[in-house]
């Protein structure tokens, strides 16, 4: 069973409107790569040219900010839940 990934409104245009999708990978970075494989263009929104998570994007693994874990190297198990949350609230 892959990880569940919760998609914020601004990125749902990549996921055909889906709020939650499945993606596989042993680390958060691998899950992001699998998202890109399924939904081309989404990784560029999440990561900068050097592959790091953009400053204004937060990724939570089971509720914990990956910046306080091992960032994109953080290990992911089957059934884990990843949430991509815009760092700001908008207008």
């Amino acid at each position: 069973m892959p990880a569940k990934v919760r998609i914020p409104t601004p990125l749902r245009r990549f996921t055909n409107g889906a709020e939650e999708v499945g993606a596989a990978g042993a680390t958060v970075g691998a899950v992001v790569n699998d998202l890109e494989r399924q939904f081309a263009g989404i990784k560029e929104r999440l990561c900068d040219d050097e592959g790091r998570v953009r400053r204004f994007v937060n990724i939570y693994l089971n509720g914990d900010d990956i910046r306080f874990l091992s960032n994109l190297e953080t290990a992911v198990k089957d059934g884990d839940e990843l949430s991509i949350v815009p760092a700001i609230a908008g207008g």
Binding site: R45, G90, G91
Partner: protein, 329 residues
């Protein structure tokens, strides 16, 4: 409870800048700061000014529309004793409404995404307002929808200023921000730049300035993508479009990359002594692009707030790296 101080869209003139009868009398009359030095490459005949809205008593440009909307509510009877002021807001409008509610003795309930900064939550709480959280995944549109639900449950209990649809939002800027810019530049302003959140600032100020001189260019700074980090600004193509926003009145929109706006915030703080929010970085990004294209002119950009209320946010996540990269500049 004090009576409504004045009718809508009128303001109490300050007889002197030191004594004021109410905190609300101190809204507006913010200064222009010459930031031409931040537009390297512009000709010497171009000036760039930032209008520092952080000097409003609630700390942001939103004091103006919030005050106009509340005064209008009092004048029309839509807001009267026993009612609670409610709105959806990502922060600055909420802080302004909370301040105004406290000053006038009206309770305030605010709906906001749960990912707004800790400072904002605490400021709003310090003004005695109640906060209802919506999902951070849904952004400000989620807060708008949740606020509608709240109203639907008990419509008579609430007064909803509704900054996205209330004509008093742009009117506040037509009455105050616009005239201040015209007077403070002695009518020399040629280009006006503001970010779009509700569109109130750019619409109302733009209308006033064009009424004084139709040649004045009105330019909106907009996030370059739906997923962005420019708090307070909206990417219109992918958002619920505010009813007060009329894009056809703009001369131009400039898309702003979040990373570049953040870097300008770092530069403003560490090199010029001005700590501001990310929407100021966005306004400066657009203003200096305009400035570099001109032979001569006076560009005025709205800096919506100061930066204190963002110090715990991701805005500063790249600060140490920026310092390393720019150590030898």
């Amino acid at each position: 409870m004090r009576a409504a101080p004045t009718a809508a869209a009128t303001r109490v003139p300050l007889e002197d800048g030191v004594r004021a009868g109410s905190i609300l009398d101190l809204v507006g009359h913010t200064p222009l700061l010459d930031v031409t030095v931040l537009a390297p490459g512009a000709t010497p005949r171009v000036r760039v000014y930032a209008k520092l809205e952080g000097f409003n008593p609630g700390g942001s440009v939103k004091d103006r529309p919030a005050l106009w909307m509340v005064r209008h509510g009092l004048a029309t009877g839509a807001l009267r004793p026993g009612k609670t002021i409610v709105d959806s807001t990502s922060g600055n409008t909420g802080i302004a409404l909370a301040m105004i509610g406290a000053a006038l003795g009206y309770p305030v309930t605010l709906v906001m995404p749960d990912n707004v900064s800790r400072e904002r939550k605490r400021i709003i709480s310090a003004f005695g307002a109640q906060v209802v959280y919506s999902s951070g995944l849904e952004g400000s549109d989620g807060a708008i929808l949740k606020c509608r639900e709240l109203l639907h449950e008990d419509p008579d209990h609430y007064f909803k200023p509704d900054q996205y649809f209330n004509a008093m939002n742009p009117q506040a800027h037509f009455d105050s921000t616009g005239p201040e810019i015209w007077d403070d530049t002695e009518g020399r302003v040629t280009h006006f730049v503001a970010g779009i959140g509700t569109g109130g600032t750019v619409m109302g100020t733009g209308r006033y300035l064009k009424s004084r001189d139709a040649r004045i260019q009105v330019i909106a700074a907009e996030p370059d993508d739906a997923l962005h980090g420019l708090e307070g600004l909206k990417h219109m193509a992918t958002s619920i479009v505010p009813g007060i926003y009329h894009e056809e009145e703009l001369d131009r929109k400039i898309p702003v990359p979040t990373d570049e706006a953040y870097d300008l915030v770092y530069e403003l703080g560490s090199r010029h002594g001005l700590i501001v929010g990310q929407s100021c970085g966005a306004a400066l990004y657009a203003a200096r692009r305009v400035a570099r294209e001109l032979d001569d002119g006076v560009v005025v950009a709205i800096f919506p707030d100061f930066g204190d209320r963002y110090l715990s946010t991701n805005l500063w996540a790249g600060w140490e790296e920026w310092q390393r990269q720019h150590r030898n500049d």
